[in-house]
Symmetry: C2
Subunit: 272 residues, 2 copies
Amino acid sequence: MAEALTVDTPDDPRLADYVSLTDVELRRRKEPAEGLFIAEGEKVIRRARQAGYEMRSMLLSAKWADRMRDVIEETDAPVYTVAPDLAERVTGYHVHRGALASMQRKPLPTAAEVLRTARRVAVMEAVNDHTNIGAIFRSAAALGMDAVLLSPDCADPLYRRSVKVSMGAVFSVPYARLDAWPQGLEAVREAGFTVLALTPAEKAVSIEEAAPHRMDRVALMLGAEGDGLSARALAAADRWVRIPMAHGVDSLNVGAAAAVAFYAVATGRPES
Amino acid sequence: MAEALTVDTPDDPRLADYVSLTDVELRRRKEPAEGLFIAEGEKVIRRARQAGYEMRSMLLSAKWADRMRDVIEETDAPVYTVAPDLAERVTGYHVHRGALASMQRKPLPTAAEVLRTARRVAVMEAVNDHTNIGAIFRSAAALGMDAVLLSPDCADPLYRRSVKVSMGAVFSVPYARLDAWPQGLEAVREAGFTVLALTPAEKAVSIEEAAPHRMDRVALMLGAEGDGLSARALAAADRWVRIPMAHGVDSLNVGAAAAVAFYAVATGRPES
């Protein structure tokens, strides 16, 4: 059972994990360096626990301390109950979900470990928007992708906003970072994957025609909103696939494109 | 050619269309009542013009007046050039896209008019989030849906954020409101459409199995994030379809679900 401690000054050092949560630049450096991430809201905190993440501490308003009673009873981590305005002064925003937890990161698996058992993998290049990363993980989980590989310049899936948008899917879909890009794709191919690049380029074949759902092992590569995949990443792919698009429309949002592509990878239509 | 007028006081009545753009409640009432909507940024303003919307006025910083020279030359509407801090005082936010236009709404077509020529229609129930509405229109345009029908409680597709997220697709995809809900669906059916309800319910058939791409005329009905379709809407459908989902995952985000469903409606996989 955790200690429940009332804290009433915003500069109390025990609240250091929660300081300036709206300062994206600060948090992007601090969290990986200190081995922590922030889970926000009851559902996401419970999912982080279920996924085996250790809790460092919790920050709650009194109302939520009741609601989270069982979580508090199961953990040894300190639980800080604070008034809502104190929470706002520490974090920099109005914590309307009422509960924050600082969780301990786990070591990431290597790409080789992730690829050993996966059959359908999403590979993201330079997706550096936290909302998009979260949305893509959520769709990957729902549509049965087994794992995600990230280029070195992708955003952190454990950043607070990514976690929230993913509804905790970042805890359940295994992921790894490729250290060398795009050279790391060679190891994906050597593990038996066909590397597909999703691109609106005209010389790409339509994704239904490519029939990725019939392939034994598929790695589907996506680029960032706007720029799409780099020339180097495109050159490193086995095949280019595109989502058939109506005339005169720029493109799908990267989250929508990912969902459609995952569906095409996951699902075989009946043959009729 | 438009008059170019420098305005230097925030309460100048000529700027009334642009006041308090961040006050969602105010703008939701004001804009439809006064028959206007706000297009933000060069691309969206140009697309609104191409789609035949009349311009009431433009609000630009000096830098953007140059860039939009051709638009200014083509319109008779007044163009107000203002300093960035004045734009911020009027609108309530930092207009980093540098250009705003107040556009005149057009009368919406009736559902019957929209249904006359359409074959693939998205029907939205109570989608009241402006970002989601915009994202769904963008996907509808890209994936070849012919039109959108809205239940009475859907958000306004011409609200500034919807327009922006849609990348202007709200101008190109025809849409109408159904006045009676869900009774209005009867007219959709009478127009020859099969009304499909997208739902995660277990008794729904998988959307590939339903093969909507083989149907002559399809109306695909979507509910809001979280709640999904109401019992009344579900009861009014011809058939329930679902996107096959991995075990233990709540659901897709409504934008992702819409994209997948539109793809399934639009695209037939080759028969191989």
